[in-house]
């Protein structure tokens, strides 16, 4: 279901990201929502469907941000891995850079919250966190708008 959006991202690898504008993210997300609906998840329990929608939200957000961001790449990797297809690669990279206890607690917390934040330089972490927050806030506003307009239709 998410492969198509991932391929779109790959094709725009070299260019500045043209996909990251609110209408584009909205279209992508609405398309994903209609796929969720059509895929027969409607018959499943609401919580299962809600998880599918949440996964779609993060996938659309990451796909729209493009492959230049470490957090979007890490998020897409995590999402595509979750259904359990194929072998799970050992998370050696993340564990290797786990800060020793007694490090900055705030930094550790931030690394846990930002996707892919486990093994970045501190400066990169701050940069990625700012971008992640911006995109996440926009995704939330988008979903709120959809919920609001769907409630009034």
């Amino acid at each position: 279901m998410y492969r198509r959006s991932f391929k779109d991202t790959r094709s725009s690898l070299g260019s500045p990201n043209p996909n990251f504008s609110k209408p584009m993210v909205a279209l992508r997300f609405l398309r994903a929502l209609s796929l969720v609906r059509r895929s027969g998840l409607g018959a499943c329990s609401p919580s299962y469907r809600a998880r599918g929608i949440r996964r779609a939200a993060y996938a659309c957000m990451a796909a729209s941000a493009g492959p230049r961001r470490a957090w979007s790449r890490a998020l897409l990797r995590k999402i595509r891995r979750r259904p359990g297809r194929g072998l799970r690669r050992p998370r050696a990279v993340i564990w290797r850079h786990r800060p020793v206890g007694g490090g900055d607690r705030l930094e550790v917390a931030l690394r846990r919250l930002v996707p892919g934040g486990g093994c970045m330089e501190y400066c990169r972490l701050l940069e990625e966190a700012a971008d992640y927050v911006k995109c996440l806030a926009m995704q939330v506003r988008l979903m709120q708008t959809i919920v609001d307009s769907a409630s009034h239709v």
């Binding site: 609906r37 809600a50 931030l110 501190y122 966190a129 939330v140 979903m143 919920v147």
Partner: protein, 90 residues
């Protein structure tokens, strides 16, 4: 490969300057909602990190909540994504 902030400060020729870090922290502060840090001048890095963590957690919670609501709406609405799309894009 990751150079910790502390290590960079202690070394003589640090690749990462304090000014660079302050720039990034203020950029991070600019995307946070105003309510967290009320002062006009730059807040400390620790405060900004704390606010960022809180904000990200609250955004995650909102995504979960909105996903639940969307899932209920998808179930209920017999008709139109078309109507929704129209109302959003036009």
């Amino acid at each position: 490969m990751s150079s910790r902030r502390n290590r960079a400060r202690q070394s003589g020729s640090s690749r990462i300057t304090d000014e660079q870090i302050n720039d990034l922290v203020s950029k991070l502060q600019s995307v946070l909602p105003e309510a967290g840090i009320r002062r006009n001048d730059r807040a400390s890095a620790a405060k900004v990190l704390q606010e960022t963590c809180n904000y990200i957690r609250s955004l995650h919670r909102e995504v979960d909540d909105l996903s639940e609501r969307l899932s209920k709406l998808l179930e209920e609405s017999s008709s139109d994504q078309a109507a929704i799309i129209r109302s959003l894009l036009m």
